[in-house]
Point group: D2
Amino acid sequence: MPPENRSTQPGTMATNCYGKSRVRLTKIVRQGDNHDIKELNINIQVQGEFDRAFLSGDNSQIIATDSMKNTVYVLAAKNEFNSIEKFARILAEHFIKAYKHVSGVTIEIEEDLWQRVVVDGKAHPHAFFGAGGEKRWCQVTTDRKHATVSSGIRDLRVVKTTASEFWGFIRDEYTTLPEVRDRVFGTTISSTWVFHEADPDFNLCYQKIRFAILETFATHYSLSVQQTLYEAGPTALDRCASVQSISLSMPNQHRIPFNLEPFKLENTNQIFVTTDEPFGLISATISRK
Amino acid sequence: MPPENRSTQPGTMATNCYGKSRVRLTKIVRQGDNHDIKELNINIQVQGEFDRAFLSGDNSQIIATDSMKNTVYVLAAKNEFNSIEKFARILAEHFIKAYKHVSGVTIEIEEDLWQRVVVDGKAHPHAFFGAGGEKRWCQVTTDRKHATVSSGIRDLRVVKTTASEFWGFIRDEYTTLPEVRDRVFGTTISSTWVFHEADPDFNLCYQKIRFAILETFATHYSLSVQQTLYEAGPTALDRCASVQSISLSMPNQHRIPFNLEPFKLENTNQIFVTTDEPFGLISATISRK
Amino acid sequence: MPPENRSTQPGTMATNCYGKSRVRLTKIVRQGDNHDIKELNINIQVQGEFDRAFLSGDNSQIIATDSMKNTVYVLAAKNEFNSIEKFARILAEHFIKAYKHVSGVTIEIEEDLWQRVVVDGKAHPHAFFGAGGEKRWCQVTTDRKHATVSSGIRDLRVVKTTASEFWGFIRDEYTTLPEVRDRVFGTTISSTWVFHEADPDFNLCYQKIRFAILETFATHYSLSVQQTLYEAGPTALDRCASVQSISLSMPNQHRIPFNLEPFKLENTNQIFVTTDEPFGLISATISRK
Amino acid sequence: MPPENRSTQPGTMATNCYGKSRVRLTKIVRQGDNHDIKELNINIQVQGEFDRAFLSGDNSQIIATDSMKNTVYVLAAKNEFNSIEKFARILAEHFIKAYKHVSGVTIEIEEDLWQRVVVDGKAHPHAFFGAGGEKRWCQVTTDRKHATVSSGIRDLRVVKTTASEFWGFIRDEYTTLPEVRDRVFGTTISSTWVFHEADPDFNLCYQKIRFAILETFATHYSLSVQQTLYEAGPTALDRCASVQSISLSMPNQHRIPFNLEPFKLENTNQIFVTTDEPFGLISATISRK
């Protein structure tokens, strides 16, 4: 170790935090022959009196991130929970209670979803297949007084092949996009909602809001991504009274009609170039009135 | 342009090919109000008399890869097809017929799968959501005499939480793995099958083989990944007479029991570390006798 | 179009924004035989009076995101700029000036970096190879009164093989990590700095801060990731007077000593398992005093 | 365990193999204060008498893939090697010698490359930064009689801004691409070469061939990707007598001139849309005469 480790440079700490990311947990709950599987990816960040570690390498206040990782597995073993929100709350409360110098904790959990394999018309008790790219997500942030729970959906890929228009937008010297009365509308929805109730039914809310979004996407006659996105917000609030506000984000993943004219064919709204980039990105937060 | 473009170095052409990759097509078939969507990612490779381009920059035999891309969209517009295999065949035959100096063509198509959104208990006519990470795949290779069609599944993620053992393997100085009588078995299956019939029902075969694999995975009592993988092969051949052979590949994506002993807890086969790497990789090809 | 597009649900718009993401531009500046290449990835987001589009599908205030994309290429053609920060400023100012109902703009640019190929000891005038995974980044945010410029580095991968310790941290019932006096320290640095000068030399600042970070990483005797991260902050502020504050983020990408004891070998700090996850994640913002 | 595990289905094993993938090793060699770091990603596949595991779940011939992983770390500790090729050979020979029923082994190694940080004009003895996306690669395949060593480069990203033409290609009803006399040529080169010498200087060959490819790319006046790709082959063979043949693969990553006409501007070969897909894909193998 060198004789001197203290920084002698100008500058002052504005903010800092640290934690462990991508702690991956599989928990299996075995009730007789019937098994449930949870596959979670957990991020932890803490704030508090950690300045001595940053300023002088004194680690006496540092909870090793390896210990945080251990804590995830230990608390998963010790506790029953039926939603990622509840497990996030268990973790957040633990760090606040166990360490007096921790002033804030953020727990984020992403859940890979599994569906049961169906054999002979029956859901199999212990075999599962991947239920899509879609993920369930939550975040619990807490200081020593209040906790906030947000939940969400990530990567819900959808497309509709009609009932979507886009016209009447600003036409100026930078505009070349034609107006269109029947376009393909494809997006990958992310949504986050914030609860105002202390102990909502997280699983029921997830199901209701997920369906509100899917149903709105399917049935809303769209004049713009903006309009459909907004429409989903109040619909979700209407379906789930536990939620105070909802944010949605929709990349507009364009399907561009392929120009068949050089080949003496007409494109009857059938043949498209699928693109990922560039993409429009529309987002909004809708609050309960 | 420089006066001299001919290579003067030693060396002789052994093989060459070229083509266009990742041509992305969305095709929508509209039958009244009911729409179907196909999202395909197409790769084309051709072989033939292209040496002059490689050796001296004479492009007179070169079909521009941009023209190949155009061809995909034009033939998608001109033709009806109900499976990726049929469209791959249309493309392969086109290149062989249209260009005399092409001796071989390989078309590969990967299909992103969509499910209909269900609203009020009914499948929606034009709104879809992503049916998972799983993709359907095919390859048609043809020379001027024969064509071969292979089909497959890519990225079918599965896990079973019991009915899997692994013991009795070689124990030597490099072995530390304990024997285990009840382990989690997770994998992401890829499978490719080769047809011996000229005109099979590609969609039916896909459904039958996909289910044969899923069902075997769910119901087979596994003594090793090798055994379960092999078991799926003959089961698939049994279900689909059009197929001559089937290959399967299974990465063994380990869930490692978390050691709870330092925390004075017992891990009752519940708490696992989910890992992606390293992974075992097991593969085999099973042929009809 | 349906007779009624107005949402009748409860809920009120809290915030919204939209724009175009991943607009990819290659700009080549040709000065005689000597060429420069810039490869940029541009994100645009605008805020303003867009509620009518969200609430009722009235697009009369909407700048199509396709027009935003066009604007990037048109302004890149019309303007000379020698840094991504200057181009971001040109774009931000354009949207504010051209559209009265736009109240805020955020432009983000990420630059892929190229190095000249060296032939016969000389930098080639027009041939380049990829200068690593590292990217240069900037963000300009502006409302109708003030603009803020931030710059940064993304994905600067580094490792040091000694001069790093980690001990003296909290040992409690969740702790199993041994103390270590000589460990491998690997991370992928991201850093963002905010300017307080109106017209700094962005390129010089980038070079100086990048080197301050690399040099600190190399020469600082580390008692924790926290300490090394903090040390880099004031060093960077010291080197570049134009900057008001700097944020750094360092994932601790662990190299775990492989346990050679079962094989009757000693691991003399030579043989490690390289891991990506889980990883520690440490971040801080350091401000000029 | 169930009473009966034997497959009763029709079908016969055609081929099988298995092994461990993505074994990630960091090896640090410390010579006094000067350290070297190797970061390797290793894949192992073995073939041999493993049918009993596949057919009946009898694992008595199975080397657990976990033991293969251990073997990588143990042999890395026991042996000195100055190239990935030599370590791959050590591993391949080990599996052939240690297990009589193994008939074939394939070892593949990919190396992440590091550069020393330069401080005060001197290469630092123990601090490194990422030397780009480019990776070094090798493969050793061996049966009980012969071994073959291939080496290569992966992901060498290059671009040239002039001295590239493309014209004179087939123009037919599928062609819309204009002929171009000055285009941007960008690609990500992969190359694999096969040795015919028993004990070549692998590191020297890598440096010479890598430079032959880069130099050819920079200095060759290109009439097509095909021609430049071919030109690199004999040049590499000329520079490195130990090599029997070389394969190259070049995706043509198009930069498409942005159409500025609608904006009443001329695109003087300056402003391009950077694209990843679709891409041309050109490959060839060149052998020593």
